[in-house]
Amino acid sequence: MEFFINNVWIIPALPLWSFLLILFGRIFNVYENKYISLALTAGSTFIGFISSIFILFYCINNPETSTQYNILWLDTGNLKFSIGWLVDNLAAMMLVVVTSISLLIQIYSHGYMEQDKGYHRFFAYLVLFNFSMLALVLSTNLFQTYIFWELVGVSSYLLIGFWFYKPSAAQAAKKAFIINRIGDCGLLVGTLALLFYSLNWWTSSQNILLEFATLGQAGSLALANAGPVLFGLLALGLLFGPIAKSAQIPLHTWLADAMEGPTPISALIHAATMVAAGVYLIARLYPVFELSPQIMTIMVWVGAITAFIAATIAITQTDIKKCLAYSTCSQLGYMVLAMGVGAYSAGLFHLITHAYFKAMLFLCSGAVIHSLADQQNMKYMGGLRKKIPIVAYTYLIGTLAIAGLFLSGFWSKEAILLSLYIQGKNLLLIIALITAFMTAYYMFRSYFMVFEGEYRGHAHFHKPSKIMTVPLIILAVPSALIGFIFSGSLKSIGIGSFDSFIFYGHALHEAHVSLFLPICSLIIATLGFLLAGIIYWDKLKSLYCNCFKLVEKYFSPLYKLSTNKWYFDDFNNLLIKYLILPISELISIFDKYVIDGFINLCGISTLYKGKAVSLLQNGNIQTYLVTALLSFIAIITVVFLIYII
């Protein structure tokens, strides 16, 4: 076990190695056979998965240990930046989640991308993402996190724009990159400000610069140095990183567009791992955020509003992937909300359960899209349960899980609701419950539209291959069970509850057990299911005829608000068009005529100087020797004049 802990760097190093091999594939003859790329990618992840499992078991057996190893990366006198790896319970858990989901998605991708021309490019990007994500999880300090934070951003950009010849994909990639840039800018400024206000402490103590283990002390020092207002701004800057990466309002608009990428990517990056990295970073930076109550309040409301608004948008989406994307957004809002109210374990628990079932849901949607020749609109689906039962049943499991009906989502959502209930945040609790209702509604809506009823489309149907369905079946197991396993009900056979394994400060042992909340949320989820059934399931439709039209008629303003995604994109466009562009144009005039003019003048004059100097290089050895000797004598004279005489 110790071996795996001490050599944990292998887990990110192998994907990096595979990336380089695929990148320079022509030299190593990788492109001869598609299976070589697959083997490199999946093989590296598989080894990572096995060692992550061992590390997780080690951490379960020794829950109090956290191991870290650092090497000096950049020594600039005062500032000594290090990189390294940190293994604690949280990192071990994330490693298993990332590697297991990655592995299955990589295998699935082989089936999904087999006909694509950019097969090897796809796997190169995929494995690059894998490397950066794993290294992000293992980061020991904020500085290293920032590096890999950017790297996951780049790989996400590359993969969203994988089909770059489609203008919509190129636009989506650009949008994701720019919006994430806003968040990264905040993160960078926050990091630098934190470093600035606690610099003396870092340099005088022997700690690794910006390491997570002692961030709390540095944070309180920064609070004392900067005062509460500046410190709040600093923490807000730090929070902007997670807000953009985890697609929280107001920086959430990129996530739905990111669905332009191949579906396995949506499953891996934009549902399970990278977007969850924001929540992971919040967990790592918890000691800093905790020092500023205002920031915690902001976090709570950002999460709550995101959960609510994204759910309302998801209700009316007809594109299956967009529907799932807004659902992801909403669930991430749940996690941020949980982190904000101090339910640290509950938030991370939901992160992990959500990673499994949402990855599975996306893969199911990918299988559907693939078998319907790239048809994404749910209006043209229906009745697919009979044709692809495996996909239908796994999708149903995912739907039950996310809706909070007994499967894993139930347990983690329950933990969040419970902590809201205990803290007496009734308003938030109501928002969360309404969101849960909407979640159940739109998920069952999508299930009914896709898999039940009659087939409404025209596309020619072909069955997805085994390589795509097997990962679905495997993923269905954790999606269904992982919540129950870590719920604490299995304490008798040695598996403790999640919050006794990953917690902040001290473990919470709640004696408070009430049946009120679980029953309440089950009823709400069932109501959502029934409503969806009444409207979209033919067998129940007869109960209430054509409710859909009715809703459209009476709630048309609300309906419009939802289909237009609350006009966030339009607002952004107006903002850019009428505020940002005029200002930038004004500035660019100065730039164009004053700064560029000066630079061009310098450049042109330099070129002429260059021509003048090269006159001496006339190819004549006599001239060379004379100039050499004369200039040598000149140098000697100058030096002697200055120093000797």
């Binding site: 380089l20 020594d75 006198g77 260059g610 190819g619 050895i621 050499a628 140098i635 000697i636 000797i644």
Partner: protein, 492 residues
Amino acid sequence: MDFLLDIKTAMLPEAIITFTILVCTVLCFMLKQEKQKIIYLISLLGLIISLTSINLLAANKIFTGFYNSFTSDFFSILMRFLILSGTLLVIIMTKDYSSKFKNRQGEFYLLMLIAALGALLLSGANDLIMIFVALEALSLSSYALSGFLKKDKSSNEAALKYLIFGGASSAIMLYGFSFLYGITGHTNLTEIFTYLANNNTDTMLNFTFFLIIAGFLFKVAAFPFQSWAPDVYEGAPVPVTAFLSTVSKVAGFAILIKFIGLAFNNVEIITVTLGLIALLSITIGNFMALNQMNIKRLMAYSSISQAGFVLIGFALLSYSGISGAIFYLISYLVASLGAWLAIIIFNTQTNKSLISDLNGIAYRNPYFATCFAFCLLSLAGIPVTVGFMAKFYLFHAIVQEGPAYLWLLILALLNTILSLFYYLKIIKAMFVCKQENESFKLNFDAGILNTSLVALTLVVVLLGVLVTPFIEIARDSALSIKLPVKQVGLSR
């Protein structure tokens, strides 16, 4: 038996190279023309064995051998490692190119090995006579190598210019040696150092210093002895040019810093002179490079300005400065060898060497263009590459020295910006410009040349990312050099 012991403790790589030279000489006479390719393999083998034998030298001790005329310390071991690996790569480069040498392939490798031997000896030389002999062994074989394309006019011109220029600067250096001997009465550097430490130095010694560094400045192609470089680089066979701009320079720098540290105490003179020379080299190299159309000439000017950057580190005369310079030298060696490899791949297959010939090559040979671009970016000092880290540490060392050296920093920074222009010009040609004439596609397969190019590019990036261990190596090697003690309160 002393002799054998010296070889074992201090000069094992040199002995192996000498043995290889002897074997190659015999084979040159014995083998028929078409079989001379064997010599290529044997010289590679000799270099590899020699490289591995460096491990057997004790890095943490100082050994002297051959009546104190040669010292082996960590610095010289590092330099010898650089020289041997550089020569190895240069010899690899000749794989396809050597067909141009017709029936004299064997001699080419023989001369190359002799030059490498001279460079090796130079890096550890501890005696005026040893320095001179080693320098001439390096120079004479370089002259012959530059003119190796007998029928080619420009190659002959290059050899002649190199010879005349080399002769002139050697003469100046030798004149300086005679002064030094006259003042101190010793030829051994250690004894000269002891003598000078116990006796008053005077103006004459400073004058001697100027005369002596002339020879070394010629070797590293720094101002004012730089003007041979463009013509020779352009005319000489490309592998030879690569050798001159890398290995030969490393040897020149090695002996320059060793010599300065051992023999002279006047810090101010050294600093000002070397600083001035460094800045002039950088500036002149850059200005001349701006209007170049020929890649080989451009690389020549680039190598002049790069030599200036290394000299900045030497001019500081602090350990951080020297270690910065050593690391810069490593980075220059890697990136420049990579660039030359790319040029030779291009040149051998198309026989062209203008920048405009590279137009649009990125569309047909993305790997080649990417690797070449990375090497050029490293030379320019753009992040992610080793060149950035090297410049960073060098400038950091300048800052550490305090405000008295600020002028060096500012001018060096301005020059860095300037140098971007011509490196980016090549990259622009490769990635932005459309090709005009007939399209050609380089053969970029798994051959040894291409593999080495990719490997060097990876090293460029790896060193740029994981820098600290290598900085520490540079620092350790700098610590094994004797430096003159600095007086406190250096002004002006």
